[in-house]
Point group: C2
Chain length 193, copies 2
């Protein structure tokens, strides 16, 4: 095999954590998906928590990278904000990082929680920067608080996943983001005719 067993273990853990969360993912299931035995896994990682941490850090990095691609991409700040809300997502699978907040074992472990906290702190900060730029450029109302609006946009996406998974349909997610875009459009200084 081209990839090392260690890399395959991390990738398998990423997939299973996304699909089933931490508590419901057994070391055995990770090994099976990676095509590795017990001995291999415990040689590379002290235990399940350490492997999960490596997987979560990698997922967090990938999430951050793909979000920044849009938020630092082409277009003026307002357009990049809209692009973030509109960009393609695996809606029914939900957010690889956000779903960890519902896992009791992740929430109980400061080490496992850290990448989750750091990812959302970064996302809200980056969104707030783009919102402040849009406001300074006059494409968003001057009285909008960048930090609050950033939290709203991040929450719409995370909550959209919850509604979509509850319904078993992507529709609530599409509605939630479309509704947010309409509210943002209403908050532009010069309302379009």
């Amino acid at each position: 095999m081209r990839e090392t067993a260690e890399a395959r273990l991390i990738e398998s853990a990423q997939e299973l954590l996304w699909e089933r969360g931490y508590a419901a993912t057994s070391p055995k299931a990770i090994q099976r998906r990676a095509g590795a035995g017990q001995g291999s896994m415990y040689h590379h990682f002290p235990g399940k928590a350490d492997l999960a941490l490596a997987a979560m850090r990698r997922s967090a990095g990938q999430l951050r990278e793909s979000a920044d691609e849009v938020l630092s991409g082409p277009g003026d700040p307002y357009q990049r904000l809209c692009a973030y809300l509109r960009c393609q997502r695996d809606v029914l699978r939900g957010c690889r990082i956000g779903r960890m907040t519902a896992d009791p074992e992740v929430m109980a472990s400061p080490a496992l929680r850290e990448p989750v906290a750091a990812t959302f702190a970064w996302l809200q900060g980056r969104l707030a920067e783009v919102i402040a730029q849009a406001r300074d450029a006059g494409t968003l109302a001057a009285d909008l608080d960048p930090a609050a609006t950033a939290a709203t946009i991040a929450a719409v996406v995370q909550g959209g996943y919850v509604l979509a998974r509850a319904a078993g349909s992507e529709e609530p997610f599409e509605q939630a983001t479309a509704g947010a875009l309409a509210l943002l459009a209403a908050a532009r200084p010069q309302e379009p005719e």
Copy 2:
């Protein structure tokens, strides 16, 4: 004891499902909290899934009742919408129903998913009604889609929980709801001076 063992089992299951989700809640933990033995639980319920379903249905009913208290309460439709976003919540514990969407065993079981789907379908419908009333009363822009805006508001609350739990602080939730209120205010036909 004043309460029956059956009622105490359901209440204990409600609490544990809220704290830890379904997969991570063992029958033994429910029994311990309810002060009931194995035999008692298996006498009243065929198994864990049936007890959890009773607990989820009860939580769903309570959630619906408290949401409707605000949405059908005093004030004009726009004020009731704001009241829904502002009302007191146990932010760091999150949503008893919404958190179930992250539980792999709940999502895999149509029976366990049903109350989750029904609760959010009801909430979005009820929010859309109030939004349509606000629009008809002229207190919200006529071009806002009630269903989309309802999904946005429900998503802000659900996503707010995710951000708050990730941060270990209520602040992101307060920011997300405050940001949503500011956007709604910007979508009023006559902007306030």
